[in-house]
């Protein structure tokens, strides 16, 4: 919009008077504040009951961040429209701030092998290098991303902390930034359109994707991504099979990531006091695997 109008004091006070009159005389609705409160509580009680039906895992694997940050190499061969829609959505979502709810499940050894799951919630603003995620269980309970630095809160028994509750390292990528997913897809992805989809408060399209493995890194990455009509990624389900290490059981994990609250204010608390932090950056180690 190129025509910018300056408003004078009379305009401002007239606007305030008119809007105040409109505000003060809004007719009473059907739902006073007390009724709203009851409805909110009823809604959340229902959600809690549903959630308890989902079995929780006992042990969590380290980090969704590593899961999303894996790099693969191969060639791109995708249907242009589906591929373009998904890559554009990943880029657009990465430019937003958002809330994520993640369930990461891990299977080790075989399809009937040991299973674990962890629930992660967090807020991210990738364009500002900010993010915070909290895990329901596992050796890393919280991760804060602040620009070039990342802080992870570790359990007392976690050797990473060397006895301190926090470890600091260089930030090599936000945990659940769709931009990281985009980088993988652009290098090695194929995408197919799976038709219309919808979720709470949105409608859009479901896409399936496969990222072909290179000589290093995981042997397989595949999943589905849901993009709404505004071109934002709403849901990402990604299964990664790690390259087996000789003598070790193979491991496969699935990140089920729901994106919501676009535009949310992301406020990351200040870094912990230096005395509480074991600093890998200062040791010249660069970064550690969260």
């Amino acid at each position: 919009m190129d025509n910018v109008h300056e408003l004078d004091g009379c305009d401002e006070s007239e606007g305030q008077r008119l809007l105040t009159a409109a505000f003060e005389t809004v007719p009473a609705g059907e739902a006073p504040a007390g009724e709203l409160l009851r409805q909110v509580r009823r809604h959340h009680k229902t959600r809690r009951r549903v959630r308890t039906l989902v079995p929780a895992g006992a042990v969590a694997a380290l980090g969704g961040a590593a899961a999303v940050a894996v790099t693969l190499t191969a060639t791109v061969a995708a249907a242009p429209s589906a591929f373009a829609a998904v890559t554009a959505a990943a880029a657009k979502t990465s430019a937003e701030s958002f809330h994520v709810t993640v369930r990461q499940s891990t299977v080790v050894g075989s399809s009937s092998g040991a299973r674990s799951s962890v629930r992660v919630v967090g807020d991210f603003a990738p364009s500002h290098g900010l993010g915070e995620e909290t895990a329901s269980s596992g050796p890393v309970s919280q991760v804060r991303y602040l620009g070039k630095h990342v802080y992870a809160r570790v359990s007392k028994t976690n050797p990473l902390g060397h006895g301190k509750p926090w470890v600091e390292s260089l930030n090599v990528g936000l945990g659940y930034d769709p931009g990281t997913f985009l980088a993988q897809l652009e290098k090695a992805g194929t995408v197919t359109d799976e038709g219309p989809a919808s979720g709470p408060g949105w409608t859009g399209t479901k896409y399936a994707f496969v990222v072909r493995a290179g000589k290093k890194g995981p042997v397989a990455v595949s999943g589905t991504v849901y993009v709404d009509k505004q071109g934002l990624v709403r849901h990402l389900v990604m299964t990664t099979t790690l390259r087996p290490v000789p003598g070790e059981p193979w491991e496969r994990f699935t990140d089920d990531v729901t994106f919501s609250d676009f535009g949310v204010s992301v406020l990351v608390p200040a870094p912990p006091r230096a005395s509480q932090v074991y600093n890998y950056g200062k040791l010249g180690l660069g970064y550690f695997p969260i």
Partner: protein
Amino acid sequence: MRPDLEESFAAFVRTRGDHHLRVAALLTGSTAEAEDLVQTSLMRLYRAWPRLEVTSTSPDAYLRKIIVNMRRSWWQTRWRQESPTGSVPDRPDPAEGGGDPADRQALGSLVRAALARLPRQQRAVLVLRYLEDLPQAEVAALLGCSVGTVKTHAHRGLRALRASLGDLGPFAVNEIAGSRGGA
């Protein structure tokens, strides 16, 4: 949620719920839609409440952000269903002076009807700027536009309000609207 957080959330809804309902009514042009919008927004706020306490974020600002964002996304799917208010409210009689509550009620109805006819961005700018008293830069950030666009919407929105209020005349409007202290 912890019991103390439950209580602080309840206190917030009790003390500020009505304010946000009224603001939402002006944003949407409908009290029923405002209730849906605020209720859904409060559900999100409830989930975020423990984090807000930790980060000292203003719940008002957070809820406002949710309401504005949700309203924006609702609009993209629901705007075709929106219709201006069905009937034109009675006009206040300037000859009867500005102190009459009935006149103020009538003026409020007129302004709400005029607001409901404005394009949604103009309406949002007027509500956030003049009712919520947010700085232009904050309005721009909430709506995802430039400060220049906010100024233009405010200018055009006010001009449209004046035109809608028509022969009531700015003097009479100010007399009536200002009779309870204005902003």
